[in-house]
């Protein structure tokens, strides 16, 4: 392309428009790809997904969610732990045999590798603790929820 064919537009403006068009097309294509990847690229399924679309028993999946308060129970053999993972919408009972990660506590995030058995119980081979986006010193832990919120609010301002 030369200047004549584009009606006197400066070459650098022509290049700018060309590159912006190319970048626009690229962003469009990537967004489409990302939307298409939505289901496949997730690291885990939440209980809601499992309820809506139950996986085949025995199919390897990852389950992620919050450990329900008061649901952690240690079985008679001492190494098997049973608990419930929920996401506020659905709940899935989980059983796991092995050493628990340090951050595995009630009402915290967990990601479990494993499979559903025929009774609708998730049998986990591996447990990963999921950390949330909150970073709070130990002293704050003993405060009430209101106090903690006020403290966090202060630190934001």
């Amino acid at each position: 392309m030369t200047q004549e064919t584009s009606g006197g537009i400066k070459p650098k403006h022509q290049r700018l428009v060309l590159i912006l068009l190319a970048v626009g097309a690229l962003i469009g294509a990537s967004l489409l790809a990302m939307v298409a990847l939505q289901d496949q690229a997730s690291y885990f399924y939440v209980p809601e997904d499992i309820e809506a679309n139950p996986p085949e028993p025995g199919q390897a999946i990852r389950l992620g969610g919050m450990v329900e308060t008061g649901s952690i129970q240690t079985a008679a053999d001492g190494v098997t732990t049973e608990f419930v993972v929920h996401d506020g919408i659905a709940r899935v009972p989980v059983t796991y045999t092995g050493i628990l990660p340090d951050l595995f506590v009630e009402n915290s995030g967990v990601v479990a590798d494993g499979r559903m058995d025929a009774n609708g119980v998730f049998v986990a081979d591996q447990l990963l603790a999921k950390h949330d986006e909150n970073y709070t010193p130990r002293e704050l832990e003993e405060m009430t929820a209101e106090q903690m919120r006020a403290e966090l609010q202060e630190s934001v301002e």
């Binding site: 939505q38 506590v105 990963l128 603790a129 950390h131 986006e133 130990r138």
Partner: protein, 248 residues
């Protein structure tokens, strides 16, 4: 825009700005890390492991910022043919790659005690690893083009196309369920307690100074290389030296 196209004018600024950024960066980073490591309390769940935040977060931001800089410089190079833009993009690649690597390494060290694993293939970790590989590819491509004396246009296109990964890294924890936690610091505020947040922000500032200083330093090195090569070529063409002498 073309005010700094003249390397002489650029050098007259870069020559005094480089030491200021490097020394200032070392002081601010050192102070921020000392402050953070000694003064901030253990986290309610992670204990002292939380303090790796002061290195991990600045490294992640600068790893992504480095590629953003490459993309902007590449655009300026392609559209305005700015001679310093090519050099700036090449100069930003190595520190960018180093910070991306530091981010991956510190994240892995933090992940072992916190999550219970060194590595998972979730959206955030994978896209960050892709960024590191993009850096390696960019460095190999741009340095081989420079060595062959070819146009750096292909590297510039690679820089712009690769930039698509930066928003993917940023959004990966929102679009997909990931083991990595979502952003703590957003435009809406921060969910990091003040005792961690302030040292962190100073560490980000200090590391950014260091990044800028390293980029300027590398730009000066590349400019000096180009000048030395041009001088050798002129002398060789003028025939005042034998080939052997020209390399001395």
């Amino acid at each position: 825009m073309h005010l700094y196209a003249n390397p002489k004018r650029f050098l007259s600024i870069a020559n005094w700005l480089t030491p200021i950024l490097l020394v200032g960066g070392l002081l601010v980073t050192g102070a921020a890390l000392l402050w953070g490591f000694t003064q901030s309390p253990p986290d309610r769940l992670m204990g002292d492991t939380v303090k790796i935040l002061y290195i991990h977060v600045p490294a992640a931001w600068l790893g992504m910022g480095g590629w953003t800089a490459i993309a902007i410089a590449s655009l300026v190079e392609l559209v305005w043919r700015h001679p310093l833009a090519t050099i700036a993009a090449r100069a930003a690649a190595v520190p960018g790659a180093v910070f991306a690597f530091i981010c991956l390494a510190t994240g892995s060290i933090w992940g072992r005690p916190t999550w219970g694993t060194w590595w998972v293939w979730d959206g955030r970790l994978t896209s960050m690893l892709v960024l590191f590989f993009l850096y390696l590819g960019y460095i190999a491509l741009s340095s081989s083009l420079a060595r062959e004396g070819q146009s750096s246009r292909i590297a510039a296109i690679f820089g712009i196309v690769g930039a698509i990964n930066v928003p993917i890294i940023n959004r990966s924890v929102v679009w997909w369920n990931s083991l990595h936690q979502p952003a703590s610091i957003t435009t809406g505020g921060s969910s990091i307690d003040g005792t961690y947040l302030w040292p962190l922000l100073f560490a980000v500032l200090g590391f950014s100074f260091l990044f800028g200083g390293i980029v300027l330093m590398r730009m000066r090195t590349i400019l000096a290389d180009i000048q030395a090569e041009a001088r050798l070529r002129r002398k060789a063409q003028a025939g005042t030296m034998t080939g052997e002498e020209a390399f001395q």
